[in-house]
Symmetry: C2
Subunit: 980 residues, 2 copies
């Protein structure tokens, strides 16, 4: 590695040659240094200066905080050159050069790094400067600023020490504002600040300008390892080994009279994205004053009133900078005695709205391409448009007023205000009555869903970002704060105690799912309307175009199995209203409709429970009939042709089995429950086909273990034990009898639940296993799907049902189930006299299915990777338990880089997924492959899916726009890369 | 495919040429036909005949039970040739040829297929034969036999129809034995039997000999599809598409006078393996009579007394056959008028004991090689030597006496007799008092283990072959019958009702873990002694030799990573007595010592519970101290060097954290519990090192979720609810107070259990996850291991501890844990002043670990595939639930070929395992790889492990001999095959 540690601004070409790219230059000199040098090269007025490199910083840190060999000599040489260019001399009282020493990392880390101005001032230089400028106050003011900044930043003296002295002096003088201090007061302050050094450090302020400079450079380097900087990097995923550069720049002064000034200018409005110069300035002031807000600033747009020529020059520079950097710039400038100096330019921070508008505008202006525009918008920006937000000022005010109740995990973004409801039924009742409800629970369960979907927001005291509450909330786009541990919920009293206050059911709270904060009372909201966001629609349209083109390109390049239409975005939607919303958000299909949510609805649940309680007995009888029928139909038993005699036997046995079926009360209840549910399911599906007219709809057959639809074992145990104790009490007549009847019913339910109890229900009797043990449930569902599809087709809709069988682990499971279900499908189509184009496929969520995907693809026409469960099985993590018990600690300790339920684990789970895709496509080239886990809405995971050559990602409606962006960004990022 | 359907015995060379191998000939002609032809080729006296091929059979079945084209013509041609050789004519009354028509499949299926003798007899031939032989009785007897056999076997007439006629005749004649029937009686019987045809079928017995022959041939073919044959094939894993051949052989008659006779001869004693001719014969009798036991047979060894020349000839033929077939032969012979005819030879069935002895003897005799001897013994044979058996006669008698109570899953072989105990504590108490106990439970749990190990047998009414009871039973070699659903256990009354009887606690039952049967009362046992089994020891010694040589050969052939010592057999042993036994059985190391079983012992459990109840609070404080200490020690925080100021801060915080630790009551209890457990664990391990002197000992650190050591949530819920109700009753003083205290303690425990409750404990906080969250538990264990190792080394034992960390899913988990634990190990060795050779490694049971095995092997020095859990995760099956809920049905329906918890699923789980081995060895060539799941003792799985290039399989002590055999058999079977 080169040991050139210092680059003059004029040496930018040399840096570029050394690094090979502009990005490399930014890495070496930091964003600020690189841009200053770059501006100088572009002929813009930049004060002379130089940069000590980021490599220098890392060499310094890695050698145990020592300046590497040769660095200081190079600083001195560069300083000499700056003296020459500035025509001033560092430490020369007769013509002093002062410099600023500022950090500048590759990525902007505002407020994180430290700056020292006026380095080079000392007791000798100060009088010289006074003589030179005739502005005594300015010089002493500069000196006292140096002393304070240097003392705090470079020498580690507590800020308060200087504040204390300053305040004491103000008190003596009976003044309140800094500006009221006169030159002699500031001179006195300089004297006292110097005493602070002696008191705090036992040493004098270093008078030697070179010593000042060296300490300042070290201080900047040290600040890279400061706690705030480390924390910031952690949050923003900035690597620790980048280091910061140090920029040493000739000081220019905006406070040298009314022909001087200083300001901050954005080339466009960073709030709205409007193409107008934007910012503030002050005449006769130094940079800090603009930010500090001590004096009322003026708008840069009005600079022409004060200095028309400078204003024009600034406008021109802004245009030039935008043309050069192809982005909106955030600049700092100073006017020193009528001369404009540019002190900094960088890509300006902006709101999500401005980001989108500027990107789209710049394409129209010919500044950037559509692809560049797409790359410039982040998923977070897009997300902003999808959730109502609290008014920022109101949030600040609420905090000041002490209305912040608690903070939890920001599980599902969005702002919600409503009345607290302590259970799902209350939430549903109030919600249906048109009230805004915040459902509050310790944690939620599947049978809370009807209350959750009726709520405006969800608040829990337990669980993490992938707890049930969080998952469902994201799925339905309901704002949620989960795991707010400070909440003490008393379910009996129906109240929650937090931060010393007690809120009752019905009290109003405001909840911000983006920040995880919960406030007492109502906060006003700003509610964005997706349809009105024309610029965003334009941008996402480009994103889709880019994705599709990338697919076509890859396909033309002969990449086997790559989807011609590129990576599409589909949606997970269980209800027509979700489907409609997702379509509005740009979804190209439904990748997952979960049919079991439909089972939980209040009027259906009793029938579902009847079905379950009789399923085992009934299905056993029904399965006997099916088996005999199958044998007679195929003429084969266990793969072998049967003889006539055996046929007679079987016919007799079939007859008997049919009689058993007819006589069985269990079968009666089982069938009537299924018959009851059929029309409900049919109408559910009809609604989806209607909403998704012309697009594919993947419907997943029942997945969860049946006992999830029954009360829990724990509840029943307590209820039965309670009832038993009650019955022991002396009691008479009807009361006793009623109690006895209740007990008997509960005991019956308890017996069923005990029989169905599973140690690890996640790995239990669910998905396709249900399809094999209780085939009639899935058959009912398939009948409902195809009846709905035929009806919808008859009504003129273009329907594309795809039936998804969950949890396949072995191809033989699919063999049996798919054949039986397809038979039902064909039968319905015959009955309805209609041919529907359909697919049968499976969810890939069992590791074994991935490992044997070639066999599975022999039958399945599509794969949908259920990456939630696949992650559970591959890691051996139970999602319900892992976050609560160890996963948070795993991420904190860096054992896992991220929570694998949020971002797909490419190394492990991803390797299985890729194996599945590869093997699956090898067996069936046109295999449709997607994912429908929560990862489908996570940008990093979307990128993985692009690389794995998937046809689509499916995510909750509210993540669709984000996923569209992420898909396009992946296509751009990896253009031309070969995929396996 | 050739359409030569018929081979004369003399055409065996032609058949051999067509098929390319002797095995092919056996496949084509069936075992019986091939051997008859082969004997004829060897010059032995075989009656002329021919064989209709198995291919003919399949062609017949597949064409819907029609004779394929050309077959019948070929039969007629062959028959003509036989007539020529026998110098008789089929259907010619003056010189009639009779034939037997017998089935003969490739694999012997005794009793499964049907035989018809005397085909060719009819109303015309019978008088001719009488004239020819002068033996009227013999002819009518032959004819009536033909009628009955033909009628039943070929025409489907019920046996009873003939029996009925026969009995009626006997009644008329007032005789009881067949032999009492005179010639004229038999003639009458022939008449009446012929009437049966008319009555039952409405047709006459076919008089045309050719028609008889064709019907008989078809009948044999049909019998291949008979229910008994299909069932037998299912059990014995014989493919359905092999078919059976039909042998048509000239009849010879042993009942033509005192110079005639018939018999069955084994070339060695099939019960003991002794090298003596063995069998029975009768003079002047037909084959059936020997088997039927109507007359007292004579021993073939004494044949010399009657017919010295024939006896000598038979001896000589026996030797010749053994020399030819290299195996003990089971022959049938007939002497017709002083001439010996061999009617059949086949490898003789024999007992396990005889199998081993004959194999070993034949090596000594130079008949076969050691490898052939090893291949000849089955795992089942070896298993016989390891478990006590019930006396067979006693079993029969008990069945007749109606003492069979129930049948369940034969979960762990062996015979056990004892008193029923209804819970673990009773079982333990009685067991320790020296009583033989059969523990009976609905199902068992980990905290039943202390009772199980004290029992002679285990009996449950629920669960399958891999239920907890079954797994533990096999592990400890305790006979077990599980899932005997007919048992109705009343835990409160402490009695079990079954088959109309009620047994009380203390009543005696006999249980056969090999058959799954349970008997009332005591059955006498035969108890084998492994040490005395010299022949078995010799054979297994050869097996080890073969395995080791195979390893060396593969290794010399340059097969990367193949273990030089071949596939060894290690053992799963938790206690020294198990280790000693396993060593006696030939184990070459301990592959799995489960340390948590030690925690369940009665005197330790309270301390374990104390440890658990305080772990969370205590470890949180202790972890803070560790973290600061680590930072100070390494001088780094989160990978970055720390500055002096930060060091001071951390020192201060460390000081505070240490104070917190000292002051915490939780830490006090936590530490004192760990201190209490340390010496116990140390002495556990010392015993293992002592027993395994010189061999490796892999000790797995604590694996199960901690809540397994606490009462269940369900129990506590009921107890607390009960106590609450009790407290509500009017009560006074001390009683109430005591009740209150109990309730309070239970509530505390309930709170802890609720907090630790997991939805899916299998995938919860266990294994290495515990090591990260509660590091001090594993540290205590590692300290105990190394203290014990150093002490054992000091006492002169050669110790090779290998520390196994369970459940790694991500290499970073191992990184953290292994480093911390190795530090403890080194510290102990320093304290003890001793260097021990050791390894650190991990269990591979999480799919992700297999997928990322290269990274894991960067740290782990050995892999031990925990195929139980790996199977659970790969299939997504919870073992506790799957068998009960759907796995049995899966296997029954053929969705899975076998239960994957019994035989490793090579296609899915095995693919992950192989991936793990390949990637692991690529990263670390000398990586030691084994499996320690239950599959280690399953022969088919052992073969898989051989092919995967593993260093060892580890299984329960009682499976070690079987695994040694299976390993050698794999090496022989796959010799020279390349492994990946």
């Amino acid at each position: 590695m080169s040991n050139k540690w210092v680059y003059l601004f004029g040496e930018v070409a040399q840096a570029e040659q050394a690094m090979g790219s502009w990005d490399g230059v930014r890495g070496l000199l930091g964003g600020k240094g690189a841009n200053l040098a770059d501006m100088m090269r572009a002929g813009l007025p930049v004060p002379p200066g130089f940069t000590v490199t980021t490599r220098g910083c890392m060499a310094y840190i890695n050698s145990g905080f020592n300046l590497p060999e040769g660095m200081w000599e190079q600083v001195l040489t560069a300083l000499a050159q700056v003296e020459k260019e500035a025509n001033k001399k560092f430490g020369d009282p007769s013509n002093p050069l002062l410099v600023s020493v500022r950090s500048g990392a590759k990525f902007s880390m505002p407020g994180m790094m430290d700056t020292i101005l006026n380095v080079g001032l000392n007791d000798k230089v100060a009088p010289g400067m006074i003589a030179l400028t005739g502005n005594e106050r300015f010089v002493w003011d500069s000196y006292r600023r140096l002393l304070a900044m240097f003392g705090h930043t470079a020498m580690g003296i507590d800020d308060e020490a200087f504040d204390h002295v300053m305040n004491a002096l103000k008190a003596e003088l009976n003044v309140t504002l800094d500006t009221e201090l006169k030159a002699e007061n500031l001179k006195e302050l300089v004297k006292r600040f110097k005493q602070v050094y002696v008191q705090e450090l036992g040493r004098e302020f270093p008078q030697d300008p070179l010593e000042q400079l060296q300490i300042a450079v070290r201080a900047v380097f040290d600040s890279w390892m400061g706690k705030r900087a480390i924390d910031y990097r952690r949050v923003e995923h900035i690597p620790d080994d980048l280091g910061t550069a140090v920029n040493v720049v000739t000081m220019v002064f905006g406070n040298m009279g009314d022909d001087s000034g200083t300001g901050v200018a954005f080339t466009r409005d960073p709030a709205t994205g409007q193409r107008v110069i934007y910012g503030d300035y002050l005449l006769n002031a130094q940079g800090e004053d603009v930010v500090a807000g001590i004096r009322n600033t003026k708008k840069v747009a009005d600079l022409g009133d004060d200095m028309p020529a400078i204003a024009e020059q600034l406008q021109a520079i802004g245009k030039k900078l935008e043309l050069h950097y192809k982005d909106m710039q955030d600049t700092e400038f100073t006017i020193e005695k009528g001369k404009l100096w540019m002190l900094q330019t960088r890509n300006g921070k902006r709101t999500a709205r401005a980001t989108v508008k500027i990107a789209v505008d710049m394409v129209a202006e010919g500044l950037i391409t559509k692809e560049q525009a797409v790359m410039r918008v982040t998923p977070k920006d897009v997300d902003f448009f999808l959730h109502p937000q609290f008014d920022e000022k109101a949030v600040k005010a609420a905090k000041l007023a002490g209305r912040l109740l608690a903070e939890g995990v920001n599980a599902s973004p969005g702002a919600a205000v409503g009345k607290l409801a302590f259970d799902a039924n209350t939430a549903e009742a109030w919600g249906k009555a048109g009230e805004a409800v915040i459902m509050i629970r310790a944690e939620t369960k599947p049978d809370d869903v009807h209350g959750m979907v009726a709520s405006k927001g969800i608040l829990t005291s337990r669980g993490g970002a992938t707890a049930h509450a969080a998952v469902v909330a994201r799925q339905f786009g309901i704002p949620a704060v989960v795991g707010a541990a400070a909440l003490h919920i008393d379910q009996d009293l129906r109240e929650v105690t937090v931060a010393g206050r007690t809120l009752k059911e019905g009290d109003i709270v405001s909840l911000d799912g983006a920040t995880g904060q919960v406030y007492e009372g109502t906060l006003p909201k700003v509610d964005p309307d997706f349809k009105k966001e024309v610029e965003l629609a334009t941008l996402l349209g480009w994103a889709d175009e880019i994705s599709a083109n990338a697919g076509a390109r890859q396909w033309e390049a002969g990449l086997q199995g790559f989807p011609t239409r590129g990576l599409q975005v589909w949606t997970n939607a269980d209800y027509p209203k979700d489907a409609r919303r997702a379509r509005e958000y740009g979804a190209k299909g439904i990748g997952l409709c979960r049919t079991e949510h439909m089972f939980f609805e209040q009027e259906r649940l009793p029938h579902v429970q009847d079905m379950i309680l009789n399923a085992e007995e009934a299905q056993k009888l029904l399965n006997v009939v099916s088996r005999y029928e199958r044998i007679l139909e195929t003429g084969k038993e266990e793969g072998q042709a049967i003889k006539e005699a055996r046929r007679d036997e079987i016919e007799a046995e079939l007859e008997k089995a049919r009689t058993d079926v007819v006589e069985s009360p269990a079968v009666k209840v089982y069938r009537s429950s299924l018959d009851f549910l059929l029309p409900y399911q049919r109408s559910d599906f009809y609604g989806l086909f209607e909403a998704m007219d012309g697009l594919p709809v993947i419907i997943r057959l029942i997945d969860p273990p049946l006992h999830e639809f029954l009360p829990t074992l724990e509840t029943l145990l307590v209820e039965v034990t309670d009832l038993e104790a009650d019955l022991d009490l002396p009691r008479t007549g009807t009361g006793k009898q009623l109690l006895g009847e209740t007990l008997s019913a509960k005991r019956k339910m308890l017996t069923a639940v005990e029989r169905m109890h599973e140690s690890n229900p996640m790995m239990g009797l669910r998905g396709i296993r249900l399809g094999i043990i209780f085939p009639d449930i899935m058959k009912m569902q398939v009948r409902a799907i195809f009846e709905a599809a035929c009806d919808a087709a008859a009504a003129g809709y273009a329907v594309h049902p795809e039936v998804m069988i969950p949890l396949t682990g072995h191809v033989n499971e699919l063999k049996l189930t798919q054949a039986e279900l397809e038979k039902v499908a064909r039968q319905v189509m015959t009955e309805k006299g209609r041919e529907i184009s359909y697919k049968f496929g499976t969810m890939m969520e069992i590791p074994r299915a991935c490992v044997t995907a070639d066999a599975v693809a022999g039958l399945a026409e599509f794969f949908s990777f259920g990456t939630n469960d696949l992650t559970q099985m591959t890691f051996g993590y139970s999602r319900d338990d892992a976050e609560r018990r160890f996963l948070v600690e795993y991420v904190e300790q860096g054992i896992l880089p991220v929570n694998p339920f949020q971002t797909l684990d490419a190394e492990g789970v991803g390797a299985l997924l890729r194996m599945g895709v590869r093997k699956g496509r090898a067996a069936r080239n046109e295999l449709e492959v997607g994912i429908c886990g929560e990862h489908g809405g996570d940008p990093e995971s979307v990128e993985f899916c692009y690389l794995a050559g998937l046809n689509y990602v499916s995510c909750s409606p509210f993540r669709v726009p984000v996923a569209r962006l992420a898909a396009a960004q992946s296509a751009i990022k990896h253009r031309g890369k070969l995929l396996d």
